[in-house]
Symmetry: D2
């Protein structure tokens, strides 16, 4: 008897390779004692025999959501569903992902395992960013990977102050800065030269993007830190704030971005034999020998 | 007896701190047996007693151009005047510069030295970039620091192939790439993690910007290499090509940027006691001890 | 009324500049209602009027230990005294230290503050390393900064496997590896290119030393991880294991170094206005602008 | 008709896998109109029918030397033979090499090509290092990869001044420094974080090893620079100077290491289709995508 009865399915938008995998998944689920709800965006794809629901209703009614796509699709699901406390399961279509780790060919066996309770559940910290101008908080967002402040003009540096729990860390000139969770440490923060953070660690890294100084270095701080980034009055360009690469909210001098832990964590279901370091070695060819 | 008789003066635009230095310079030059021509952009500043000339006429008529401003002003002068073969002399207003190395307070003594032939002349390589779509070369530019290809959308990677003299170097996903002269190696290429190149070296560095792989590394190639960068068809975003941070020409998939040595070099006049490494240590606090 | 009654004093060995500071400290302490015990190594220095004690007795009898010297002296005190649970207070003689943050000229005022209860106490994690050959654990050590495995021959790489809580992380060829606490993140791990870890964070970083691959990157793991490093049979040289740069125990192929959290933490007393980031900026010229 | 008539053969010492390849090579050479001379170290291996010669005699009598082994064997041959001006050809046994690029299975065809003049010849710069105490030059060496100064005690920094053509570059505290040719830029200099230098470039890189500062960066200078490294009087440990990882000459405070271009270059024969970047991508997995 399964613990999961109401299953949501979210599918990567507009990827034709995905159709067969979704068909197989829906067929498989039909044979289990579960109700299936499709994310509304799926409507166009033409799987007629399951109930279409808007994302929020999916969150309210499901006790498991299966995401078919890549890490980007799962990031999107996490941002919209984390506050419902539903676990996510990722089926990978395309390149190996860090978050979506079930392969289509292994799907039947892995679903058997999951529906019989053979799985691990992992909790991933998320970030909450709020943006203020003067006394007014005019925008906010949630991220599983990272909150990034980036110059609004390519090849123009911004200037900003970083504070941790109210204490000045430094004043920097750079293309921007990445505030990254452990999950995000293998994404854009990696490109910026940041360290890899073990998934479960209660830490956040601050990784400057192309800092115009020799003496910059990533710093890793407590996950519960309140990080404030102030776009300096000397900054010659505006900036944008992105949450997992989305939203891209425009900010100007003296605007403040405050980043703190999000109240909810993403729950990620892995097969029992999940091996983070093996994925790291395979996907990033980490420390591979010449 | 001076070797320089026709002196051009180019001044940083719109910087109020500069007025006194320019006045002092013009007064000083009046006492020397030289003709002074002002860059036309100076007209608004109100130095009435010298002939205003457009940049090109300045290039044709002068045998020395004095630049008052920062490194950016001198970069601009170099791009527009290098093909006239005129030496440039930089008077620094503001922060210490790598290229403009005479301080206002030292100006009289340094000008005495220069006009009596006590100076060193340094030749700096420049880059020539041409951009093609299919068979049509639709844009081109010149750079003293760097030619940069950068994603047109912040936090979206581009994909591109790099070739040196026709040979494939690699295929990369990154925010962009910096092709830098030795002069540019202490500018944006430094922010990207590139090595410092000694000013006179016949070399160009290729520095990826936020490469999404662990195994990237800057490469230094011969100054006479022909470097071609092809924006890949898989690239999900367009890109821009900047020359010393200017022009910002938009390119799309399959466009090719070809970078080769510029036919002219910038001639930079330094005081006799010019010490590149001292500037490096002072400006970048290079290798300074904790 | 002071909370500290039995004060131990440990002094950097053989540093002549230190004598005046120690004299002033002892004079100051004589005017407070405390008993002073000198670390035995001080005997030679000639401060006759306080009781000399071996380090262990100092640990048993004191409720505060004042360390006069540099970070190295305090590291040494921490390794020998942490298990007694006594707080340490550092008086700096020489260059600015991260751990010893009271200056001789501020000593009287700072001691007034500390003895009247005006101080912060900080807890710093330490590491415990055990070294085994076959079934026999033949050596062990404690570190406040780092446990380092290093090739026993300069410019000869070692090969080793890293495991975290039993899971293989990777197999590397490098000059060695640094396992660093947050305290050590500004010491040798910084030289190896590791990130800065905020002092209080429950994390440990693994920083390879000169890895012979492009695809290496520091990783940050939970402070309670059990890290095992196995010197590989393919390794062509022996290695040494150092604890805060000391002991230097020789190991050979198939030896295993197991690093886990030390059962005790170092207690460090800071003045109320202690500012970690200010020290970072000052000492490392962190993110300082050109 | 072949241009090469006297062929020397040098073989990696003590590698049993190599015997078959050497036998096949000698058999192949017997069928060509050439005289074969074996490096004396081969004597023990038991190839009786060719003349054994000491290394120097090999250099004097041969017009081509074939090296069977890995990059290390070829480095050794280069150091001892470069001044004779003989081209070297590398047959690879073991892992892919940068310098030895003929595989045993391709040997017959590649030898046909080489003996009929179908090859490219590449000239690689080498370094000459001289070590002085006071006025006495007490040691010297030659390197194809790098001259490395390294602390004589693991995990103890040295302090040293670097000068280029007499000008002070900086004063550093680090584990050491690597002075690398383009050939060496994919060897130890790579481990130290240095840039890749295109093989033919007239450049040398200076790469600090574990510098204890945030503001260090590799610098690339002209190949004809005279680089002097002075072990500082403040240095708390002695150091060693290695040439391609060999010799390891002990130096003490105030000793000076002077590195300048070696008067001879190594001549390396490549098959016509030699592709440096392909080897780079394959061997270092350079810029490979996740």
């Amino acid at each position: 008897m399964s613990t999961f009865e109401h299953i949501g399915v979210i599918v990567k938008n507009g990827d034709p390779r995905i159709h067969d995998t979704v068909s197989a998944l829906l067929l498989d689920l039909r044979n289990r004692a579960v109700t299936v709800h499709l994310d509304q965006s799926l409507g166009t794809v033409g799987f007629a025999d399951a109930q279409l629901l808007p994302r929020n209703a999916l969150g309210e009614q499901c006790d498991l959501v299966i995401v078919v796509g890549g890490d980007g699709t799962l990031l999107d699901a996490a941002r919209s569903l984390a506050h419902f406390g539903i676990p996510l399961l990722g089926v990978n279509v395309g390149r190996l992902g860090f978050l979506v780790d079930i392969y289509p060919e292994d799907m039947p066996a892995q679903l058997d395992a999951v529906f019989s309770g053979q799985y691990q559940i992992e909790y991933r910290n998320m970030l909450h960013g709020r943006i203020s101008r003067g006394d007014v908080e005019f925008a906010a967002g949630v991220a599983l990977n990272d909150v990034v402040i980036h110059s609004d003009e390519a090849i123009r540096m911004i200037e900003f102050d970083t504070r941790i729990d109210g204490q000045l860390v430094n004043h920097q000139r750079a293309d921007g800065i990445i505030v990254s969770t452990p999950t995000g440490s293998t994404a854009y923060a990696l490109s910026g030269g940041g360290p890899i953070l073990q998934p479960g660690i209660e830490a956040v890294s601050l990784v400057p993007i192309c800092p115009h100084t020799l003496s910059s270095r990533p710093i890793v701080v407590n996950a519960d830190s309140e990080i404030t980034l102030l776009l300096s009055a000397q900054s010659r360009t505006n900036a944008r704030v992105a949450f997992d690469g989305h939203l891209n909210i425009k900010i100007q001098a003296d605007d403040v971005v405050t980043i703190s832990p999000y109240a909810h964590r993403m729950q990620l279901i892995h097969p029992k034999n999940h091996d983070y370091y093996a994925i790291l070695r395979k996907k990033l060819r980490w420390s591979e020998q010449p």
